[in-house]
Amino acid sequence: MAITVNLDVMLAKRKMSSLELANRIGLTQANLSILKTGKAKAIRFATLEAICRELNCQPGDLLEFTPEN
């Protein structure tokens, strides 16, 4: 997919585990894993808002567009 989710990078920067983030934003670890591994087809704004709030970052820090050539 052309959109890459840099959640691992942000978690490392904030020194937070994916389990802790999942608990804070009310998501299951399985769903968070779907996001981390790039298998997600879509993300709700509410989820994106919650992640940005907990990781104190912007959506652009999490999402990266790479054109498919």
Partner: protein, 148 residues
Amino acid sequence: MKKTSIYIPFALWANRLVALVTFALIFFLPWILAWYIGFRPLTDMDRTLVTACFYCCVVVILWALWNVERLLQSIRRGQVFIRENVTRIRRLCYCCGGVGLICIPAAVAYLPLIFLVIIMAFLCLMVSVVASVMDAAVLLQEENDLTV
């Protein structure tokens, strides 16, 4: 979901009853056929051809009923929009088409059976449409499952 839980056991039992009748047909088919065909006499060769075609249909029907059983069990477990169910419905479509094709020689021998061929072809078309709709639903479900 409550409506589904009322109809699924009924559908399961209806499916098993039809399977029982189909098994019984294996033993009683010659007599049933003799009674049905008695309305218009056939040569021995035509009677054999019709009997052989119907026995082939019994095999196809039993496979279709097995797929229906697996489909209904899957729905009862709450797994409705999954790839396997689309495959099972497509197999039902092939069974309808298969029965129609098998009955063509029988219809040549005994013309009134042509209605069976036409009905099976129509059923094949309808079930194919259902399979396509189910396929689209599975895509939506997969997207929904992968929406975080």
